[in-house]
Subunit: 226 residues, 2 copies
Amino acid sequence: MPGVATKPRRTSEGPTRQAIKSATTRARIIDATIRCLVKYGYAGTTTLKVAEEADVSRGAMMHHFDNAAALMYATAEDLHQRRLKAHVRRAREFDHQQTGKLVQQSWEQFRSPNFIAFLELAMAARTDEHLAAILSPLQREYRERWYRQALELYPEWESASDEFALAFSLSQTILHGLAVALLTESIKPEMVEAVLRNLERQIRELRAAAKARSLASEGASVPAPA
Amino acid sequence: MPGVATKPRRTSEGPTRQAIKSATTRARIIDATIRCLVKYGYAGTTTLKVAEEADVSRGAMMHHFDNAAALMYATAEDLHQRRLKAHVRRAREFDHQQTGKLVQQSWEQFRSPNFIAFLELAMAARTDEHLAAILSPLQREYRERWYRQALELYPEWESASDEFALAFSLSQTILHGLAVALLTESIKPEMVEAVLRNLERQIRELRAAAKARSLASEGASVPAPA
DNA sequence: GGCAATACGATCAGGGCTGCAGGTTTTATT
DNA sequence: AATAAAACCTGCAGCCCTGATCGTATTGCC
């Protein structure tokens, strides 16, 4: 077929068509990987299944990711970025008074497919030092971001690092715990709400304690009585 | 070599030597499976590695377990029995006053290799309906046993099912959460103790509330004030 | 001692998965 | 238009794992 060369040949700046195409299929493959992790688990996720799920030839896939491990690394980083983005969005929309809403939204994150996929990778990383080497710094960054964000939202934590650290750890622990305990049927689903409300109450109490200490240390450096 | 037949030929009752041998190697294989789950994870646990770890030929192994799936099922049941046994032992040695000790011992269970192995199986069960069909009733039994045990130890819970259910769910959630949050580096290891102590405090408060309600309902059916 | 059953061992065929070695098509540059 | 480079596809060889078959040794029963 002659005359097919009607395609634009612009040398102008901006992402080239190649770059766009490349990024697109790359994203398609990573998306497919996440779906596979959810559907089949880490053990059952093969390059073949991912290629099928992404509707891409295995060759194309190997072009973007040298081997299966590289694919997992890239997926881990992508999941990390998604979690960060969700976290930032949550914080931005946040109304200072509604601790309950914040907890609720955080919990929704832990119910998302992204968290399942992340959990699969985290479990795999336990016995895969290379994967662990990728995940570890990401987790670290996530923790730190959360910390800073919370300090911006609740300045009163500033002078009560103990209460803050506990509130943070409690939140992480309970959210992770709910997700896993549900997965393993270690608690009944109808108890989730009660546990979440309990967490909210705990956070509020710790905040109050932090505020009290903040006021106390403001007047004079009097250590709070036990 | 003649004269080797000095081996006892007793037809007496009791487990035969065959039965003993069989049970022994069976146990060796299951032990090896658990170790493999810890070492290599579910994805990396193959029949070959298990046989090596157990120091048994693959043939012998296939004699006791028809296929890899059967091995996993048997391991799941074995882990369940171990967890039950540990739980009963914990309850028996228990001194009624020391909530802290009970929490501490429960936490130690969650740090054991058995829990890791169990977690690997539980994660695998998420995408393996056959394995899930095995694990589900076991989990159910574990929950129920825990419930009954706790009611025997703390009769005051009896008339405060809400507080009891919350205390139970909180314990399960936090213990699971600590284990997983540590695994995923979502909390710092030095915070574990603080979270555990917080759990103890919560349980004590719920117990007190339960006791109060118990007394109130004893005199008359007056609903406890908020 | 003889026979059956059980426990165990060595070997093999088949299947699925991986990684790579070639090609073909599309895009970018000149 | 010509060339290079990037994106993409097809097919193959090798590997590990699995399940099964056959053979051997031990044990139980008579």
